[in-house]
Every structure is written in structure tokens, then in C-alpha cells.
């Protein structure tokens, strides 16, 4: 690839040229929060090292998605509202979350067709993160905040320019047929093996990982005390880049019955409520335990990834000050004993 370095001043121009035929999603301000949103005017786009309030999960797995319509003639129509999309400026923690979503929704015997279609049509352009926000703990989750290859293109910040790394064929296709000369930064040469050399050199703290058998974690941890402050509002699951639990909801719209998929949350009592009235997770103790164990034990056992990227969003937004990082550290201490 001839494109190695592009001028920072030219990045928006480049994105405009790339974006033809694609919906462009990037960080922008909305109601005082930096979020991923569709960019219609390039001035809205914010290129920074700031981790947005929300992850870009909703562009692969929307909070509300029309799945299918049943009509009065007895037909069913599958709906597909996916669009070719570029998601720009995704930080390594949010890119890491894609591994979990893909493993659960797009692998195994059954696939989630809506997710798979969106994933196929989406190109992720990753960027590094310069500093940890309060609540961030990606390093303790073993994530390099400066670089990730879990994307299609990665822009490495070199001060006055970005080094463009094309990772997938999909990423490469974005640049095909583009006159790149005007975006190029002056010739620069890079040392070999840059990917390796940019791993953080500072001593990494102990990894937050749970390696115990599920019954041990389930039974030996004082979940009552840990869950005590939880209000069960579910904001942690909505903002989590790896949470993917959902429900189907049928809505009557004129002559149609439309089936929507909506995000659901293990923090809500009705999530597991049986029609009989029985509820296997009837108190917040069981629900909070499920959330932590699903992330750190069950998905890890089934898919091989811990479903927590250390993005810290659940910690920063919790109205009751719940902190998954200290909870997991505490569990590790209990297990060490």
C-alpha cells in the first residue's frame, strides 16, 4: 500500500473521499456527551483521544431493530436496515469488544443474521488512546490502548501525521481507486516491527482474570454484600461494549405485526421471570452475580474471551458507585486465599 502517512490536517478530507456510498459514523458531541453518531457535516466530527461516552456497539447491534413483519395475507418479510458504514475513531478497548460480539453472535452452530449482515457491511477505522480516563482499566485487562489490529484500518498517531495501517482486505478496498497524493504527508520512514515496539513498556499491573471453576466463584464470594448497593437500573449493561442480551417484542402497526429486537438486561427482574411466576434470579444478588460471572467466567469458558475490556463506562455511569474492577479484584483475593 502506498499510503503510509497522512497529514492530520487532511484527515477529514480523506474521510469525505472514502465515505462515498458509506454512512460515516464517528465521535461527535450530543447533549454534552461525546458519542458515536452519524456524521452529516464533517465539522461535527471530533478527532481526539477521548473515549466516547457510548461504544459503537449500537451500529452493529441497534438498541431497537426491526427484524420482520407479519402481514394479514399470512406472509413474513425479513427486514434489513443495514447500510454500508464506516465507523471511525474506535479505540482499542471498543475494538476488543468486537471479538466478544462476533464470538457469541456470529460463531457456533447458529448465527445472528442481522448482526452478521451489519458486521459484513461495516468498516472499522481504529485509533489509539493517549490516556486513561478515571475508571479505565484496559491495561489490567491486557489491552494495549495505543494499538489494536481488531479493525480494518488503524491510524497510528505520529504527532503531526497518522501512520495508516491497513489490516484487512475490506480496509484495503476502501482506498482502492482513490487519488491519495493530496492526502500524503511528506515521506517518512518507520522502524521495522513497529507493532511490537509500541507495546506499553511500563510495568503492567496484575491482569484482572478469573481462572477458578464456576461453582467456586458462585459459592465462595459474598455476593450479597457485593450487590448491596446496586439499584438494578441496568445502565452498566446498556453502556457495556460487550453486553448483547436481547428480547423480541411484537408491535402492531396498522395491518402489520412487527417483530423488533430490543436490548434486554440481566439486571432486570423480568429478564428471567417464567410465565409460571417462578424467577431463578429473583434478587439483585443473583442478578449482579450473573452479570459479573457471565463476563468473567461463562463467556470465557464458552468463547475463550473475558467479556470485559476495561473501558470503565459501567464504573463512570453507575449512580450507586458499583465498580466491576474492585469486585473482580476482590474475587481474585478471595480465590487466592
Amino acid at each position: 500500500m502506498s499510503l503510509e502517512a497522512i497529514s492530520k490536517k487532511r484527515i477529514k478530507e480523506l474521510l469525505e473521499s472514502l465515505g462515498e456510498g458509506y454512512k460515516l459514523v464517528a465521535p461527535a458531541w450530543e447533549d454534552g456527551k461525546l458519542v458515536f453518531k452519524e456524521i452529516k457535516n464533517m465539522d461535527e466530527m471530533v478527532i481526539s483521544h477521548e473515549l466516547p461516552y457510548k461504544s459503537p456497539k449500537e451500529f452493529l447491534f441497534p438498541q431497537l431493530e426491526r427484524m420482520m413483519c407479519f402481514d394479514t395475507t399470512g406472509g413474513v418479510t425479513v427486514e434489513d436496515q443495514s447500510e454500508k458504514t464506516i465507523v471511525f475513531g474506535v479505540k482499542p478497548c471498543d475494538l476488543e469488544a468486537l471479538k466478544v460480539l462476533k464470538a457469541v453472535l456470529a460463531q457456533g452452530k447458529f448465527h445472528d443474521a442481522w448482526f452478521v449482515t451489519r458486521m459484513e457491511k461495516t468498516i472499522f477505522i481504529g485509533m489509539g488512546c493517549s490516556s486513561e480516563k478515571p475508571g479505565c482499566f484496559c491495561a489490567q485487562r491486557g489491552i494495549n490502548r495505543k494499538y489494536s489490529s481488531t479493525c480494518d484500518v488503524f491510524l497510528r498517531d505520529m504527532g503531526d501525521h497518522y501512520k495508516v495501517e491497513i489490516i484487512t482486505d475490506k480496509g484495503r478496498s476502501l482506498f482502492n481507486g482513490l487519488d491519495l497524493k493530496k492526502f500524503k504527508f511528506e515521506e517518512v520512514s518507520y522502524p521495522e516491527n513497529m507493532a511490537q515496539s509500541s507495546r506499553p513498556t511500563d510495568e503492567t499491573p496484575r491482569l484482572l482474570e478469573i481462572d477458578a471453576e464456576e461453582n467456586v466463584v458462585f459459592n465462595q464470594v459474598d455476593w450479597d454484600r457485593i450487590a448491596e448497593r446496586c439499584l438494578g437500573c441496568g445502565i452498566c449493561t446498556y453502556l457495556c461494549p460487550t453486553c448483547h442480551c436481547f428480547a423480541f417484542k411484537d408491535v402492531k402497526e396498522k395491518d402489520l405485526s412487527v417483530r423488533y429486537r430490543v436490548w434486554d438486561s440481566c439486571m432486570y427482574p423480568k429478564f428471567t421471570l417464567h410465565a409460571s411466576g417462578h424467577n431463578p434470579r429473583s434478587t439483585k444478588k443473583e442478578r449482579f452475580r450473573q452479570r459479573v460471572m457471565h463476563k468473567y467466567v461463562y463467556i470465557k469458558q464458552n468463547q475463550g474471551y473475558t467479556a470485559c475490556t476495561g473501558c470503565g463506562r459501567c464504573i463512570r455511569s453507575c449512580p450507586a458507585g458499583m465498580n466491576i474492577k474492585t469486585v473482580v479484584s476482590e474475587i481474585m483475593e478471595v480465590l487466592d486465599e
Binding site: M67, M68, F70, G74, V76, V78, V104, L105, G108, K109, F110, H111, D112, A113, W114, V116, E214, N215, F218, N219, H244, C245, F246, A247, F248, K249, D250, V251, K252, S257, R259, D264, C266, F271, T272, L273, H274, A275, S276, H278, P280, R281, E286, Q290, M293, H294, V297, Y298, Q301, N302
Partner: protein
């Protein structure tokens, strides 16, 4: 790619009122449109939709050898079941599946079988019974004993089948109810009490149970006490679920998902799972 969330159209061809008590259980005989065949194994389930109302999982209740139609026995309990109960022969429903694992039909070959069902718990065992009692399969299994329990004599489902089942060689049915009733010729008492009075070779018998959780708990404990190995006691679980295919995150017990790792589990697996989900 096969889209596992999109159901296919089906038609209710018969509705059978199951119990003469006030317990509202009906069996729905259903066929897929365009004479599509339904291939399933005993223990598997489908998701049934009523557009505009919703979708819910139900275990198959008919013979897997009959591929032109299948039956679901449904108790009126929530929104979807109430909507289904208001339907009649000729009505359209939507079906996706089959999903889940099955009873170990091959593993059980050559052994005696003890089936214990409580109330509507007989429904998911019926495909297994009809499969094993079929002429083509009956010789693959040893003796088949059934202990069928219900609250009262009016709460048994599939009573129309019982005489036929009894006629099959080396097959026996014991009926038991919770409290004495005038004219009742069967047994009286909970199944975990009755089972300890039955005779079987614990070294060459598979037990399959289904019923209310409290019944499963007491009966399985009794069977273990009587010497049954845990890996030869099977049951089938139910759990609230949306997708049926391991994505929606609702039906797990520990790392196992009832929809794809179950719904059939043996007691050795269950005793390793966290208790309260």
C-alpha cells in the same frame, strides 16, 4: 445463511382438550405449510409465534416418527399461551426449530427404562415413549416402566394413549394421585414414595424424569439413594428464553445454556451446575 430467528408458517389442524379438571391444558396438532416435514428428536423443542403477541418455547409432545405433523401440549399460563388457547383448527401459527439436544436414545438401547412424569411433565416424555414403543424400536429396549403422577384423577394428560401403551409387550404403567378418591384403582402418594416400592435393576436401567421442580428434586434424590448412577438419570429443564439458539443470554445455568446445551441433562451434569442459576 439459514436465518434461525425467522419462523415458518404452520397451521393448527386439531385442538384436543387434555384434562377434565379446571387445569387449562390443550394439545395442538400442527402441520407446516406446503407439507414441509418436521424432523426432530425426542426432547427437542420449537419456538411458536403468534404475530403481534410474541413467541415462546414448547417441547414436542408427539412421535418423532410422524413427520407430517407434530403436537405441542400447552398450559394457559402467560400471554402467548393464552393467545394460542384462543385459536382453533385452521388457524395460522409460526414455528421455528427444532432446537436443543435430545434424550440419549442410542445410549439407552439395550437397557431397561423407568419413566417418571408429573402432570404436564409427561408432555416432553411422550415423543420418547412413542418412539420406544413403536414396533420398529421396541426390541431395542428392555422393560419399560412408567410411573405417571397427577394431582387428581382428572389431571392426567394423554389418558387416551394409556390402554395402547399397556398393550405393548414388557411395558407397564403405574398411575398415582396425591390424595385418595372414591373409585380410584391406581396408587395414591407422591412419586418419590411410590418409586421406592417399585422393582428395577439399578445397574441396567435408565431413569427419565419430568415434572414440577420439587418432584424432580425428591425423585432424583430417591433414585440416587436407591443406587442409580447419576449419569443414568435424565431430566429436561425449562427456562425463559428469547432466541432458542444461544445468543440472547437468558437461559444459562452457569456456563451452560438450556437452549443449546440442553434442555436434556443428566443428574451428573446438573449436580455440577450452580444451584440458583
Amino acid at each position: 445463511m439459514n436465518n434461525s430467528y425467522v419462523p415458518v408458517k404452520a397451521e393448527i389442524i386439531e385442538v384436543i382438550q387434555e384434562t377434565s379438571s379446571d387445569v387449562d391444558i390443550k394439545t395442538f396438532k400442527i402441520k407446516l405449510v406446503d407439507d414441509e416435514k418436521m424432523d426432530f428428536l425426542p426432547g427437542q423443542f420449537v419456538e411458536l409465534s403468534i404475530p403481534g403477541v410474541g413467541e415462546a418455547p414448547f417441547g414436542f409432545a408427539s412421535s418423532p416418527l410422524e413427520r407430517n405433523f407434530f403436537e405441542l401440549s400447552i398450559k394457559k399460563t402467560g400471554l402467548v399461551t393464552e393467545a394460542v388457547h384462543n385459536l382453533w383448527a385452521g388457524a395460522t401459527v409460526w414455528i421455528r426449530g427444532p432446537f436443543g439436544n435430545s434424550f440419549p436414545m442410542e445410549e439407552m438401547e439395550g437397557s431397561n427404562i423407568l419413566l417418571i412424569a408429573g402432570g404436564l411433565g409427561l408432555a416432553p416424555l411422550r415423543p420418547l415413549i412413542l418412539y420406544m414403543l413403536d414396533e420398529s424400536n421396541r426390541d431395542k429396549y428392555g422393560s419399560i416402566q412408567m410411573l405417571l403422577a397427577a394431582r387428581s384423577s382428572r389431571d392426567f394428560i394423554y389418558t387416551r394413549d394409556f390402554d395402547q401403551w399397556k398393550e405393548v409387550k414388557n411395558t407397564d404403567i403405574i398411575l398415582t394421585i396425591d390424595n385418595p378418591e372414591e373409585g380410584w384403582k391406581g396408587r395414591v402418594g407422591y412419586p418419590h414414595i411410590i418409586v421406592s416400592e417399585m422393582e428395577f435393576d439399578v445397574n441396567n436401567t435408565y431413569a427419565v424424569l419430568c415434572g414440577p421442580p420439587i418432584m424432580i428434586k425428591f425423585v432424583s434424590a430417591k433414585l440416587v439413594e436407591l443406587g442409580f448412577p447419576e449419569n443414568r438419570i435424565f431430566t429436561t429443564l425449562e427456562m425463559r428464553m428469547t432466541c432458542g439458539v444461544g445468543k440472547c443470554g437468558k437461559c444459562n445455568i452457569g456456563h451452560r445454556y438450556v437452549c443449546i446445551d440442553g434442555p436434556v441433562f443428566n443428574m451428573a451434569q446438573l449436580s455440577q451446575m450452580p444451584d440458583e442459576y
